[in-house]
Subunit: 461 residues, 2 copies
């Protein structure tokens, strides 16, 4: 039970320097591809090719798949055509496509030249599907059966053809036109009598996705239905590929990261944080910072237009961050709940009124709690001894109730509206919503202040 | 290819009212358990038991697993002991444990009474493991082999014993003491010669987890290593269970939701949004709202203590939301990047200085960009014609640079420090960080203003 850690990587570096290649090989073959790839990413460039050549062929290809694109590209540049062919031959089609999509054109050409004709054709087919579609993450290698086979024949067929297939455990039953008519599993085949016909044990109510379906929806189906693989069909219901569960997990992770990034006003990135350059991070972050800063012009304008109120009761300005902050927090609580529920397929646009009604009631409870706590705190602490303590505490507390109701309704309805008009709900989250909430909460604040403190403001004129 | 939609649920309701049970059964057997459970959750309570009794035994149990706990509990209350036994007998151990964990004590007793002795023992074992541990999500049903078996014997053994096992595709090779010495897959067994010994095809460098390991780490191993199942061992390295990939996917989804909720200052909840009551949502949200509101006392105090500055140059107050907002946004961008990288295992505490250095450089770039844009905008727009336009624009722009540098450093280092001292990094995210950033950015603002506007402030006295 080996797990990669710094010591092991250090050991490997030392052994490489000492050219103890046999020892290195002995160590590497006990390791998992993911962990070997992690070691590669710690090495200096000139050592990469040496270590790669030490790996047995199959393990080399499996490790190659796990590396980041810089390391892959660097290695490919150092490969002879023969070496490249050895790696390409061992790749599953969908992994090959993943790699190709990240490479510059000249590297892609070299890779395709090394692939055999059949593989090249399949790769080119897959490259045509749009990013984030089921077609772009599926593999074209799968086991097909016919309904008139027996369990024994089916198992023989799997044993004959299965060695290259990424997953053999789900088998697809096709008719003469290549249309998917049922699925069965190796488990069912193994547990059946030898002469039981496939037709009897196949599941005919197959859930399949279309090549152009969104990869996020496809991934959610895995968690709903506990599949190991999901068939992908074209317009004529012909089986053209399968999405395997390992790719679905990657999509689930990516989509969660993307949602989280968008909620924090970061443009989504497909690279790990530590591997993204400073300039890369800057480019992902500065657009939203700029947009949000400029949109804060509204809040400045609102405050400026009420500066006569502030000038007379300057203490009101000290509660602005608390009020906009509470509004922002309440709004993002609501928006994040709704966005996550949308991502997980738990709610749809048609529930918008149910959602708003729910958030309204939550907001009343939260608003009253906060207002009460705030009222007591202001009287006992912040405004103790202030001339207009009572009325100011009342203004601030009523503003809190109004702000939280407004924030929860804005926060929960904007993501749903975004989904309805085809925008990404996650982009509607914290940043955009808090700008809207900031402006509205200031308007509520000055509105309530003007109404309740008319006497105070008037008396001072 | 049936997919649940409103029309289908409506049809089922009508058929139920009309007592067309045979038709109903015909429809239900074509559906997936997840979708049938969705239909159940739309039904009135009194219809639940009727529809459940229509389902064939195995499908009934599979559907039962997919239901929410209220529906499960309601059904159990209506079951006779015999009916309950029929459902319990069909459950996988880990599913039974999941259900039991959510039920009140009297229901748990009834369920355990219906389980046969062996199952009851296994359930009780699993219930002992702490929440969120590998032990709590594993199943105790798996296929074991011995190293001296041949491929043919192994497959025979699987065919004989496999019918009850949740996954048969990964087989575990044990020694006499029950310790895990290797794994092999049905794929390898099928593709091997009949008389090939298991010892020759088993993988001996097995990655296993301990019963007490955290479920999140366990789930991450699935996405790293592309496993279908992961063995769980006790202190003596004996195999006590396996975690299957469908449970790992659920954990990945849950943990992502939990992270997102914490980032938005919501206490994590394990219920879907639409199924949580208003009071339930209130309880999850109000604690953080209160804490953050009270902590905003600091910002109020800072503003109050500088009210002489504000009174003299009231326009300064209009930029407070923009400055604290930009600081908050910049800080949460950094914190979210770091928190997600921590969750995915991409960074550790020891990288803290690398991270801070990276964020510092990003902050310089972001800060300068924002300051430049802001400076121009203030001069051309907001402060046009204002007496001290230039110096105020300078104060605000310099504050932005300082605020963004401070926010990025606070935002990136707090989650790492939290992880170091054993707190949850996600709790450190947006809400807590923005309170810290708000206070610090105000101090920067008034500090810069006092320094640069000394003449202005002095002249006006």
């Amino acid at each position: 039970m080996i797990q990669v850690n710094v010591t092991l990587t250090e050991t490997i570096k030392v052994l490489l320097d000492e050219k103890k290649y046999n020892t290195l090989r002995d160590i590497l073959v006990t390791m998992k591809p993911y962990d070997i790839a992690a070691v590669f990413e710690e090495l200096q460039d000139e050592k990469l090719a040496i270590l790669f050549r030490i790996l047995p062929k199959e393990l080399a290809a499996e490790t190659f798949v796990e590396m980041d694109e810089e390391t892959q590209e660097f290695l490919i540049h150092g490969f002879s055509d023969n070496e490249l062919k050895e790696v390409v031959d061992e790749l599953f089609i969908d992994d090959a496509v993943d790699i190709i999509e990240e490479m510059p054109a000249n590297v892609v050409k070299r890779i395709l030249r090394q692939a055999d004709k059949d593989m090249r054709k399949q790769i080119n087919e897959l490259l045509k599907y749009p990013d984030d579609s089921a077609g772009s993450i599926m593999t074209t290698e799968f086991i097909t059966l016919r309904r008139d086979m027996t369990a024994e024949m089916a198992i023989k067929r799997i044993r004959r053809t299965g060695v290259d297939k990424e997953t053999i455990y789900t088998c697809y039953v096709l008719n003469d036109k290549g249309q998917l008519i049922g699925i069965t599993t190796v488990k069912d085949l193994l547990l059946a009598e030898d002469d039981a016909p496939v037709a009897d044990m196949m599941e005919e109510n197959v859930i399949a996705v279309h090549t152009l379906d969104d990869q996020e929806q496809v991934a959610q189906m895995f968690s709903k239905y506990n599949f190991l693989a999901l068939p992908v069909v074209d317009n004529e219901q012909r089986l053209v590929g399968i999405v395997t569960i390992d790719d679905a997990i990657d999509v689930i992770q990516e989509e969660a990261t993307e949602d989280i990034e968008k909620m924090a006003a970061v443009l989504p990135s497909d690279k790990p944080y530590m591997k993204t350059s400073v300039l890369g991070i800057y480019r992902k972050r500065v657009p939203w910072l700029l947009i949000l800063m400029l949109s804060a012009t509204f809040t400045s304008m609102i405050i400026s237009s009420f500066d006569s109120v502030l000038e007379r009761v300057i203490v009101l300005s000290s509660f602005i961050p608390m009020i906009t902050g509470s509004g922002g927090n309440a709004g993002s609580q609501a928006s994040v709940s709704v966005i996550r529920a949308l991502s997980l397929g738990e709610i749809e646009f048609k529930s918008i009124f149910k959602v708003i009604w729910k958030e309204f009631r939550v907001a009343i409870l939260c608003g009253l709690t906060l207002a009460a706590a705030n009222f007591i705190k202001l009287l006992l602490l912040d405004l103790r001894g202030h001339d207009n303590a009572f009325v100011i505490a009342l203004v601030v507390s009523l503003t809190l109730v109004g702000t939280i109701i407004m924030a929860k309704i804005v926060g929960s309805s904007l993501p749903l509206l975004a989904r309805k008009v085809g925008f990404d709900p996650a982009v509607m989250a914290n940043p955009l919503i808090s700008t809207v909430c900031d402006s509205l909460s200031l308007l509520i604040y000055f509105g309530v202040a003007s109404a309740l403190m008319h006497n105070v403001l008037y008396a001072m004129m």
